[in-house]
Subunit: 422 residues, 2 copies
């Protein structure tokens, strides 16, 4: 189940970024489960990773190898003048696997490095799937020649399918813009549908651009994009041991981006838009999702208190089951706001809208509200819950607004997670 | 659905505490939905209430009236020498009802006061049920003479049924002990099965003893009992606008309890045990519950970090669905521990047991673990997840341990909450 239509469209190639996909048989024979991505020599690479204290072996290695790709470490010309690689498997997260898991992830990197003729620390590993099972290294590495043999700038679609687990559809997004007559492309794919929550969750994302961007700037753009995209979604409040989001810039479009230039503004926007679209695609494909819900909290004194309220509402099982039932049960929304931990919240000043319909104010149902009006909003597949905390106004200020995206909680969420050993 | 057998047994009377139950037809005709309780003149009364910012009208009034019952306010002999009353309705929470809700709750108190011949501030109101609907005051008050006509010290069973909403069974507990040849009784009932979470949640509890206890001491015992019982349970992480727990001491057993006496130790234990048993009964009757799960977190540096880990595991939808599936999916438990927000957690030192079976250590599956051993524990209806954070040991200390109780997450939870307008 998922919200809306599968809108995956053909993704434009990014010069210098090639993708190859194979079916190694890691968990399910015949299923695409192994992807290799190649960033041409000279690319800048940025990455952000899960903050879960149980950080999977591949994440530990990807972080370490990424640090070695940064300019201050890459003084060796031979090191710089080779491509770098991402190797992604599904079917096994290689998490909760202790020292053996670390050795296994490193063995996979070594195998890619050998086939590609690069040093091992130019290979970054990513895994998603079941936690706590030993990685089938041999099965995986036997699939590597097939994946690398297919490396192609037009390999986005297969790769988008090859990184999926419980997802029901591939997820991709792109933006293109012109700078001085030259076209710049930003293309990305991601996977994730359960265990989704701020600070990323079982989510892998790979975005590439053909602009030429210094690594420090690229990392900054990635963190900014993350903050208003993948860190603003929640399906079930669970976060994973394996989340990773990578951004590569190959520089092959012939456009150089400096921090203060027009091209920087355009590129930054494009990266943010791609990440937002990818993040929302994860929510639309949330496990068992039948609704796509935007929660907007305004009138707060700080970003944090707006987010606290937004996530408490978004993760309330009672609100989520009411959304599943298309029930305009604003009482549950009020109750969730009330327990979000804002000590001095003045309940009398809080207002709540479903879509454009004011449903609650002054601690009760709005006088103008009708059940029919609320029901009409709830019957839609895409619903906005708009909450005004009324705190900034009383302080004579404009106030802070935060927006997050989430889903309902359905029978199918239970079925998927009771039956799937993740 | 509920865990274990319905073990409701005959509850012993508490001299001076009478209960009367009626079917007023507030929501469902013929269902017991109105309960009046009477604490004989001279009783001490203690109470604790929800911390939700949207605090229902009856809670606001119960708090205000309780304050007026305290010794410093009760200098008027005529005021002291009358009984006080609790009036409880189900079918409507009278929450999210604004100023009208307040007036309605007060009107109910006035009606009880008139029938009983006491001042209105000797009546404390409690409501549970749907949020945001106007209270049917007339329907309710028309049922009051029937409820008050049945006031009886043996009315516990009917009252235990009369306060239920989505509960599948009445919940009661008692303890009796002797002091200097005189028997002291502590008897209590409660309701609640969804929206359950620390700081109480849609939960009403009424406990009475025939010991003679000063109000200040009674309030202290209630807060202590609350902390290790109702504030240690979670079903879905939602808390309610209406939670209230009351404790009355009628003094009619002829036993006076002073802070430092043996009787104080015995009474305090009895109150704690009754509250623990009632709280656990709520979890066992959790909406859609098929498992009763004890989560024990040891080796922490503070109570708070143990509770943070315990609640993150207890409220993880992925852990809860694995419990429903009887799946020993320890990877999900590790992932939940890892995201509990303990910044400097050393994942390598964390150990996890299912029952007596060590399942995970050193960031991976324990060498001694077998799937069969884990499965045997998960197949039970009552499961203990024991987590050692390994932080106190490294600091050379004994460490803090906290225990909470929770349920799994089943199809029935969705069904109940998607269909019931709470």
């Amino acid at each position: 189940m998922a919200v809306g239509e599968n809108t995956f469209s053909t993704l434009p190639a990014v010069a210098g970024f090639r993708l190859g996909t194979a079916s190694a048989g890691i968990k399910t024979p015949g299923r695409k489960d192994l992807v290799v991505m190649e960033c041409a020599a000279g690319s800048s690479v940025a990455g952000v990773f899960t903050r879960n204290a149980f950080c999977a072996a591949p994440v530990q290695i990807a972080k370490a190898h990424l640090a070695q790709l940064s300019p201050e470490h890459a003084s060796d010309a031979e090191f710089v003048n080779t491509p770098c690689y991402f190797v992604i498997n599904t079917g096994n997260a290689n998490a909760g696997t202790g020292a053996q898991g670390y050795a296994d992830a490193l063995a996979v990197c070594e195998s890619v490095a050998e086939l590609a003729g690069v040093e091992v620390n130019k290979v970054l590993p990513f895994s998603t799937g079941v936690i706590g099972e030993p990685l089938a290294v041999r099965t995986l590495t036997q699939g590597l020649p097939a994946a690398m043999g297919k490396l192609d700038e037009d390999g986005w679609r297969d790769a988008a399918e090859g990184i999926l687990t419980t997802d029901t559809r591939p997820k991709g997004a792109f933006r293109q813009f012109d700078i001085e007559g030259k076209q710049v492309t930003v293309t990305g794919i991601c996977k994730g549908s359960g265990m989704i929550k701020p600070n990323m969750a079982t989510m892998l994302g790979f975005v590439a651009t053909d602009a030429d961007v210094p690594q420090v700037l690229l990392q900054q753009y990635l963190v900014e994009a993350l903050e208003c995209s993948f860190n603003r979604i929640t399906v079930d409040g669970d976060t994973s041991t394996n989340d990773s989001l990578m951004l590569a810039a190959t520089g092959q479009a012939g456009v150089t981006v400096d921090a203060e230039s027009d091209s920087a503004v355009l590129l930054r926007s494009a990266i943010i838009e791609v990440c937002e679209e990818l993040a929302q695609a994860i929510v639309r494909d949330g496990e068992g999702a039948t609704k796509f819900v935007t929660i907007k909290v305004a009138g707060g004194l700080s970003s944090q208190e707006c987010l606290d309220v937004a996530y408490t509402v978004a993760e309330s099982p009672l609100v989520k089951t009411a959304l599943f039932a298309s029930d305009p049960n604003w009482g549950r929304i009020l109750a969730a706001i009330g327990r979000a931990g804002i000590a001095d919240l003045d309940a009398d000043k809080v207002k709540v809208w479903l879509g454009e319909v004011l449903i609650a104010e002054r601690e009760g149902r709005a006088a103008s509200y009708t059940e029919a009006a609320g029901q009409a909003v709830m019957d839609e597949e895409e619903i906005t819950i708009h909450i005004d905390l009324g705190r900034a106004a009383s302080a004579g200020e404009k106030g802070v607004t935060e927006t997050i995206w989430t889903t309902d909680l359905s029978y199918d969420y239970i079925r998927i997670n009771a039956e799937y050993r993740s």
